[in-house]
Amino acid sequence: MKKAKVDYSAYLFIAPIFIGLVVFYVYAFLRNIFLSFNDVGVFGERTYVGLQNFRDLIQDPIFRRATVNTFFYAGVGVPLVVIISIGLAWLLNQKIKGLVFYRTAVFIPAITLPAAIGLLWRWLYNSQYGLINYLLGLIGVEPKAWLGDTELVRWSILIVLVWASVSYMVIILLAGLQRIPSMYVEAAQIDGANTRQVFFKITLPLLSPTIFFVTVISMIGMLQVFDFIFLMIRSESVAYQYAISLVTYFYESAFALNLRGYGAAISVVLLGIIFAITAIQFRLQKRWVHYD
């Protein structure tokens, strides 16, 4: 391959997006870090307070609960989403009748508006007339206040989160499965491997780069959970405090209460958490991800 000559017109091609990124992202990033060291009042008056916002955060019981909840959603939600979607993708990759129907059914939540999902699940969870309490009643389970009970509410949100995120991940994993050359599986079958052995010894290792990718993006997504909590529970209700996530609290502080410095500090903490966890995941991937 011959080397192309240096081409300064390249800068013209990059300029439009570069300028936009600098203004709306780089400047915004730096400004946000700066704001996190300031006390910003309702009318925009600003005083430098150093690390005070962060010290306040540590003392703030709601922030602590938001952090614990966020780790709960990510810690329980990500394994559930990853395992369920691997299983589903595998099932949808079998040669069976009615695949088109099943695939369509599985993919629909991926394109549904979060707000519609929120409305729908609030109705399903309705403690008096909801379908879920009715169905559970048929097998003798007492009706529950899914979105009102302070113990239960995190689980109720988690169920919707998993329900809504599986679709997208199944699509990605299914594509990963379809890229695995069938000769590997066939070779193993000829050697007498049964379905389970093929799945664990052949399919999973070959799929591991895609699994890793899906784990990373669902982790990042779960750590930023906002939509369903905001949409399904009124902020006045007691249960809200028990379901609140870091991004929900960020939104509340920065935009509902107009505490921009405090809000900025929350987003900086979130950035730190996401960076740390993603870095750990990349560190650990060497142990279980196989690239060929």
């Binding site: 949808l92 079998q94 409305l119 990042i220 930023q224 906002f226």
Partner: protein, 286 residues
């Protein structure tokens, strides 16, 4: 190989069928869990209020109440919201495609000082969670006097780093000979980008367009932050208001939900393969 098929074809077939029926059972349960709620949504939307609060549950209405759709449509500006959403989604998709493809072309095909550093710079932006930008972005919008406009919904979302990465792979895959031939014919960079390469990267553009579309369609936080009046909302954020307001009538709320879900499901049904391929693109390592 022949050995295996000769041995016991019937046994293998039976085992296969047994295995397949298990798969069907599981998939049917999954389909019910995933689609059942949408069917319940629809069934609720065609009931009377009394039927929605009957215990035990009435599955089907005595008479289909299409009137719920009229009522919720009168209470809630769905047409306006859809129009806004289409405008915002289209503007976002077009501007992202334009700017990302320009940069992707440069990164894939041109040689220039600082290329790696610029690329690394973009890569690092890709990893930062979006909330970190929101407060200053909001302040910029306020400074430009653009709150409560559709422009505000599009502006910070015009620039997609992810798009640069996705499209770069497509530009890089184009054979060098094609470019060389065009250069001999006297084409400049822009003509090569626009007339030779853009048609060839169409699959990439479609994939990115669809992903951007899904993202812009679902976006909730940003519209809630910058816009207040319902006339300047997208459907996603506008619908969030429905949660606060008319919650007493379950059948109307569900009718509203159906209105906001159905068109996208129809679009999806037509372009399912393209949708799925596009989402699958995100998982391919470049």
């Amino acid at each position: 190989m022949t050995n295996l098929t000769l041995q016991a074809p019937r046994k293998v077939k039976l085992a296969n069928r047994l295995k397949n029926s298990w798969i069907h059972v599981i998939l049917i349960i999954v389909a019910i869990v995933l689609v059942g709620p949408f069917i319940w949504m629809f069934l609720t939307s065609i009931k009377t209020y009394e039927e929605t609060i009957t215990v035990p549950i009435v599955w089907f209405p005595e008479q289909i109440q299409w009137v719920n759709y009229e009522i919720v449509n009168d209470k809630f500006p769905f047409l306006r919201l859809y129009l806004n959403t289409i405008l915002v989604v289209m503007a976002t998709v077009v501007s992202q495609l334009a700017m990302s493809s320009l940069a992707a072309y440069a990164f894939a095909r041109l040689r220039f000082p600082g290329k790696n550093i610029l690329f690394l710079f973009m890569l690092s932006l890709l990893m930062v969670p979006g909330q970190i930008f929101l407060i200053p972005q909001y302040q910029i919008i306020v400074g430009l006097n653009l709150t409560d406009t559709l422009t505000a919904l599009v502006l910070p979302n015009m620039f997609s780093v992810f798009g640069v990465f996705l499209l770069r792979q497509f530009f890089a895959a184009i054979p060098q000979e094609l470019e060389d031939a065009a250069r001999i014919d006297g084409c400049g960079n822009f003509r090569i980008y626009w007339q030779i390469m853009m048609p060839l990267v169409t699959p990439g553009l479609v994939a990115m367009g669809i992903l951007t579309m899904i993202g812009a369609w679902k976006e909730l936080l940003w519209p809630l932050i910058v816009n207040q009046s319902i006339d300047k909302m997208t459907l996603s954020a506008g619908l969030a208001n429905l949660i606060g307001e008319h919650t007493t009538y379950h059948e109307q709320v569900m009718a509203g939900a159906v209105i906001s879900v159905l068109p996208m499901i129809i679009v999806f049904a037509f372009f399912q393969r393209k949708f799925v391929e596009s989402i699958a693109q995100t998982g391919i390592k470049g």
